[in-house]
């Protein structure tokens, strides 16, 4: 009887010690936080997680990520058509303004750009074939 009481007391002490150690060790997860000062600089605390400070670079990275997908090829094809139309419009507008030289240069630039895009589209089609 006495031995069982002693064992019970020992178990209780063990449980209390475990709870204490668990509570004190609860802060060892460096990725989690309750305050900004819990995070290593320059991270901040957001929704109990340490995360980098959002910047404009993140937006650029998102654009780059989009460019790496197949959707870019479709966009490029569409852009080649649009560039061709834009070049025609500029030529017409330039004639109307009697700024032939400047318009010619601009139209040439746009035409070159359209040609580049078209070449790229052709290359994609060749690669697909």
């Amino acid at each position: 009887m006495e031995r069982s009481v002693s064992r019970s007391t020992s178990s209780l002490r063990g449980l209390v010690a475990f709870a204490l150690v668990a509570a004190l060790g609860a802060g060892c997860d460096e990725g989690r936080c309750v305050r900004h000062s819990d995070c290593v600089s320059p991270l901040i605390c957001l929704a109990t997680n340490c995360v980098p400070v959002p910047t404009d670079a993140d937006a650029d990275a998102a654009v780059d990520a989009t460019a790496d997908t197949g959707a870019a090829d479709v966009a490029r094809d569409t852009a080649s058509d649009a560039a061709g139309d834009a070049a025609s419009d500029i030529v017409v507008d330039a004639s109307a303004d009697a700024s032939a030289d400047a318009a010619g240069d601009a139209a040439k630039d746009v035409s070159d750009a359209a040609k580049d895009v078209t070449d790229a589209s052709d290359a994609d089609l060749d690669a697909a074939d």
Partner: protein
């Protein structure tokens, strides 16, 4: 008749003398308490997104004062410094109700915790302090406190911080 007059005189002379109980000279009392503490902090960002970690260890140096004609009302302030993984300093004005039984005083109280450097962290605190007098000057002090922080640059957006802390220390009664 003469005996009765003597007895009356004796009674009146006794009642004319002041009672021999100790008189209380009104005075402002003070104490300085130095404690160290920690506990558990919980951050909540709404929903089930909560995280519990240990509160940074802090040192609290408190000054308390009360008038001996109304010893139940205690007020004062602390300078509190976090010294665990970061260094910060704060100011804690407090108001307590004191109830003394024998050598033990229980002091439930409310306070405002204002960490102001290097970041801001502001919120109310509810506490229970136990003061055990060891002599005329020194006492052992234990305290439990519940803090809620919802203002300041150290609080994540759309979040609140709950802290349940304990502290132990000594008090010097001046």
């Amino acid at each position: 008749m003469a005996f009765a007059a003597a007895a009356l005189l004796s009674t009146s002379s006794v009642s004319a003398q002041p009672a021999q109980t100790p008189t209380l000279i009104p005075a402002q009392m003070h104490s300085i308490t130095l404690t160290g503490g920690s506990g558990l902090s919980m951050g909540s960002a709404g929903g089930n997104d909560a995280y519990v970690t240990h509160t940074p260890v802090f040192i609290d140096a408190a000054w308390r004062t009360w008038h001996n004609t109304m010893p139940q009302w205690v007020y004062g302030f602390s300078l509190r410094a976090e010294v665990d993984g970061r260094t910060s300093i704060g100011f804690v004005p407090r108001f307590e109700f004191s109830r003394t039984v024998g050598r033990v005083s229980l002091r439930p109280g409310i306070a405002g915790v204002i960490f102001f450097a290097p970041y801001e962290l502001v919120g109310p605190e509810a506490s229970l302090t136990v003061d055990v007098r060891l002599g005329s000057v020194v006492s052992l002090v234990g305290a439990m406190a519940l803090d809620v922080f919802f203002l300041g640059s150290d609080v994540p957006p759309r979040s609140a911080i709950f802290a349940f802390n304990g502290a132990l220390g000594v008090a010097i009664h001046l």
